[in-house]
């Protein structure tokens, strides 16, 4: 644990920490471009220069390259260091275009910040700037090479961190070019991270191009709803329209990155077909009328068929809060069946995960990244949980052995050997082994006993809240919807953000459905109740490892301003409320139904055994429910 002094502040850091990281740990930001916490040092940009006054080395040093050592006295503000940093900025600005007003990065640009901070205001270079021809990199990422400051972050991420092969460095000297051999969409499923890691505007989010400045965005810490991993995100919205999604750092989960599905796959939030208006028998009505009709028809139904023929359907797409409220509604109505999963194919892996994971055995993405032996069982990892595949790659880069059991692992991310069974793997030689079970894996058989204790497990599940639903399903004795329907007893459904996996018999009434997406159930519903999407509300998802994480409200619900008036012009009339803004989160809607039935205020969903999840801070690493 070296002890050093940086700008008169005593710092003690673990061995191998760079001076730059040591400074960051006490809140001193030394300018940097090529250094990135996930990509490490490169020593290329030379802007992190500091002066070492005392210690084993002296003089001007690059703080990213220099390991902190005992007895060092570091000055970040020394005149010589400041002069060099100023020179570096001047060099970088020789060719950087002054196009900040039309650059999407403007306002969130590291180069802009450090140029201002470094005091480079007067241009001494009066020659021509070098220019490049940009490439078409697909519909998602815009390429503007003239802005490049050659920090090599993009190539290092794309090739080294993410295993991509179709993008890299070309050319030399001041004509170094970062791109593909020819125009064409980037092939890596992690290409969107180029937008996040580029310290200036070479790679920008094409889907959000020219839409807003950083300070215009509605932003809040949120989660990705696309698979079970619960990667942390920052969605950015403006005027009730989701514009883009950025990765949010969580060292235990996704680290610094997210996959392209999580970044670019969220158009449904803005879709014009999204339900915004309560419907009764497909006719628009007010909220009161919709709920009154629902209660009327519900009591009729219960009188006619009895509560045993009613199924309450929750969903792994819905927040934990919504699913808890669904269980309370079931208790109140005495409904015969509660469903959380569409089919047993969905529920079984989730229940298996809930039954077998303990705080000691649950493997986070961070555990996978630091594993030295990884067995992937029955899983198309890149398809089912891309970021987990990226985590496996990091372990592989550090020398971990990767084995595939009952599945094919042909990917450029890592090289896995095919193994006949788990029992054939050298678990006893490994220090930190992890088994990743996919949704296609068979139930563990006796050979899994060969796996020594201390092996961590990761289950790849389907939805963002599969694990939470599995806990509730176990507690509530839930059955998958397909099984419940097959029993033939069910005559009516109340569905909350649920999806159908089987044909719904005509005889089964969908008394009401609540969702933010125009699903089949919403179309069948006698009473269709629109709800808020996850970024329009606060809530909790429990990810595949049993980690409960909070997402916060990013933007208010309602129709995006764009599209309200003709030709995309904002509306010309004045209203106090935004159209479509009177929708509620799923859990709140269920609470309303319960309140109407019972006539008294309903408790918050996270009470009783869920109490401990109430205090989760969305910016923290989450809370284990194991």
């Amino acid at each position: 644990m070296p002890k050093l002094i940086i700008d008169n502040i005593a710092v003690e850091v673990p061995d191998g920490t760079s001076v730059l990281e040591a400074a960051l740990s006490v809140g001193i930001t030394i300018p940097h471009f090529c250094w990135h916490p996930a990509l490490g040092k490169a020593g290329a940009c030379r802007v992190c220069a500091v002066k070492i006054l005392e210690g084993p080395v002296k003089g001007i040093q690059m703080s990213c390259m220099l390991p902190a050592q005992d007895g060092m006295v570091v000055s970040t503000g020394d005149g010589e260091a400041v002069a060099l940093r100023k020179s570096v900025i001047e060099w970088l600005m020789i060719n950087h275009p002054h196009d900040c007003p039309v650059c999407d990065e403007g306002g969130e640009c590291q180069l802009q910040d450090f140029t201002i901070a470094g005091g480079h205001g007067i241009r001494r270079y009066d020659g021509k700037k070098r220019t490049h021809v940009n490439q078409y990199l697909g519909e998602l990422i815009e390429h503007e090479m003239n802005r490049c400051i050659q920090c090599y972050r993009c190539a290092r991420f794309y090739q080294e961190y993410a295993g991509g092969t179709d993008f890299g460095v070309l050319g030399r000297a001041d004509m170094v070019y970062f791109g593909r051999q020819c125009d064409g969409p980037l092939e890596s499923p992690f290409s969107g991270n180029l937008v996040d890691i580029c310290p200036t505007g070479v790679f920008t989010d094409r889907t959000a191009r020219f839409r807003a400045r950083y300070w215009d965005y509605d932003m809040a810490p949120s989660l990705c709803p696309h698979c079970s991993l619960g990667c942390n995100t920052i969605p950015a919205a403006r005027y009730r329209e989701l514009l883009k999604v950025m990765a949010r750092r969580n060292d235990a989960v996704n680290g610094w990155f997210i996959c392209d599905r999580g970044r670019f796959g969220n158009a449904a939030v803005n879709a014009p077909r999204r339900p915004r208006q309560p419907l009764v028998d497909r006719q628009p009505v007010g909220w009161d009328q919709a709920l009154d009709t629902l209660l009327g028809r519900l009591s009729e139904f219960l009188e006619l068929h009895g509560p045993g023929s009613l199924a309450i359907v929750g969903s792994p797409r819905m927040s934990l809060e919504g699913n808890i409220m669904a269980a309370r509604l079931r208790d109140l109505l005495g409904a015969g069946t509660i469903c959380y999963f569409g089919s047993s194919k969905q529920s079984e892996p989730a229940l298996e995960a809930a039954n077998s994971l303990t705080p000691d055995t649950a493997a986070s993405q961070a555990d996978v990244r630091s594993a030295d032996l990884i067995a992937i069982v029955g899983c198309d990892l890149l398809e089912q949980a891309p970021m987990m595949a990226l985590a496996v790659r990091q372990a592989w880069r550090n020398g971990a052995r990767i084995y595939a059991v009952d599945c094919d692992q042909t990917t450029s991310l890592y090289a896995g050997e095919v193994a006949p069974a788990l029992s054939a793997l050298p678990f006893s030689e490994a220090k930190q082994p992890v088994i990743i079970y996919g949704t296609d894996h068979k139930q563990p058989d006796s050979s899994d006993d060969a796996v020594r204790s201390g092996t961590k497990l990761a289950f790849i599940l389907n939805g963002p809240n599969d694990f939470g639903c599995a806990l509730l399903a176990r507690e509530q004795g839930a059955v998958p919807l397909a099984d419940a329907l097959a029993g033939g007893k069910i005559k009516g459904l109340l569905s909350f953000e649920a999806d159908l996996t089987t044909e719904l018999p005509d005889a089964v009434r969908v008394l009401a459905a609540c969702d933010w997406q125009p699903t089949q159930l919403m179309q069948r519903a006698e009473v269709a109740l629109p709800a808020t999407a996850w970024i329009e509300m606060e809530g909790t998802f429990v990810n595949n490892e049993g980690r409960a994480q909070r997402f916060r409200q990013v933007m208010p619900p309602g129709l995006p301003i764009r599209g309200l008036g003709p030709d995309g012009h904002p509306p010309r009339e004045f209203r106090k409320t935004a159209p479509g803004s009177d929708i509620l989160p799923g859990w709140r809607l269920i609470a309303d139904i319960i309140e109407r039935l019972e006539g008294e205020r309903v408790d918050v969903p996270l009470s009783g055994r869920w109490q401990k999840l109430q205090g989760i801070n969305a910016e923290d690493a989450g809370e284990s429910v194991l």
């Binding site: 220069a49 060099l84 020179s87 020659g127 050659q150 000297a173 170094v176």
Partner: protein, 422 residues
Amino acid sequence: MEAVLFGHNRPDRAVTFDEYCAEGGFAALRRALAELSPAEVQQAVIDSGMRGRGGAGFPTGKKWSFVPRNLPGPRYLICNCDEMEPGTYKDRILLEKNPYLLVEGMALASYALGVQHAFVFIRRGYEQAARNLRRSVAEALSAGLLGDRILGSGFSLELDLHQSAGRYICGEETALMNALEGKRANPRAKPPFPAIKGLWGQPTVVNNVETLANIPAIISQGPAWWKGQGATPEAAGTKLFCVSGHVRQPHCMELPLGTSLGEIIDGPCRGMRPGSVFKACIPGGASTPYFTGEHWQVAMDFDPVAKAGSRLGTGGIVVFDQNTCMVAATLNLIRFFARESCGWCTPCREGLPFVRHTLEKIENGYGAADDIEILREHVHQLNYAFCALAPGAMGPLEGLLRLFEDELREHISARTCPFKTR
């Protein structure tokens, strides 16, 4: 002095394998394998006081001693023949005249270092040299002087020739290793040094062609004899000087290390061209600060040249006469370095074009007094580049500012290059 490197040379062609052997070639290798342990070979090189001939002048024996003996896995020897320093062509001449010296030297060095796989990394343009080398390797192989169990000893060596795609930066040893591994030729961070973690992460020694070609003589004639070939007591061995520019007879010659600049020019080069008067020279390749008439007596050895404010470098001397514009000469060099930057670090990639632009302005009569300050700043700041390319490029510029500031100011005040109007 006896010729150590050029003793076997034929005037119009390369020496043949048989001629080389008949004149005592490969005797050193035979002797070492029969009589000497690897440690004794290394000790002989240490005793000889040999300093690397590639430009930096680092003691060769000391470099070898950094290689850890107890690490598992292979060790590598690389001969750096990516000779691309403007004004330097000694390695080419050496290989075109006598490639066997390098083969024998590499075999000896590999024996001393415990290397079983050695590489020659040769510049693409050196086609004749590569042909010679390839032929000599084949001849040595069939004579049992390379390959498995050389001369019946327990020592085996595979010697591979790699014709590089080639750039100046490939001469930087860590960039060279990246290039050899098939990666972009960007320099690597040091530490770890190549002797610990080099080619494919294994201990690696990188030596210049001339350095390795001297090893046979050190072994066959003894380190004391070899050391005695220098012109002064401090100078060890001989040195290839390749002279170009405005002298009567520019060529590559072998002279005792420590021969004075004046002796080189007036002796083997037969003085300046008719009508030419010595104005300045690059003493050791394009990255070394200029010498002028006041340096005429400087002994061309590592320490005396450094003391005189320049570097011996590769021994590539480029002589300028009185009609040479030093601004234009420096600009020409800076253009080369700016083009040859690998593009990895900012000072080199962006700083050198800034210098080039500033010198272009001054040379073309658009310079301002402030520009001299910009140049001076760059001489200082480019020291903080990632590798030695940019600091090296500042060598001639530093010389220009120190020795020819008047000429610079004349360009600025006359608003033109005075040599164009004269």
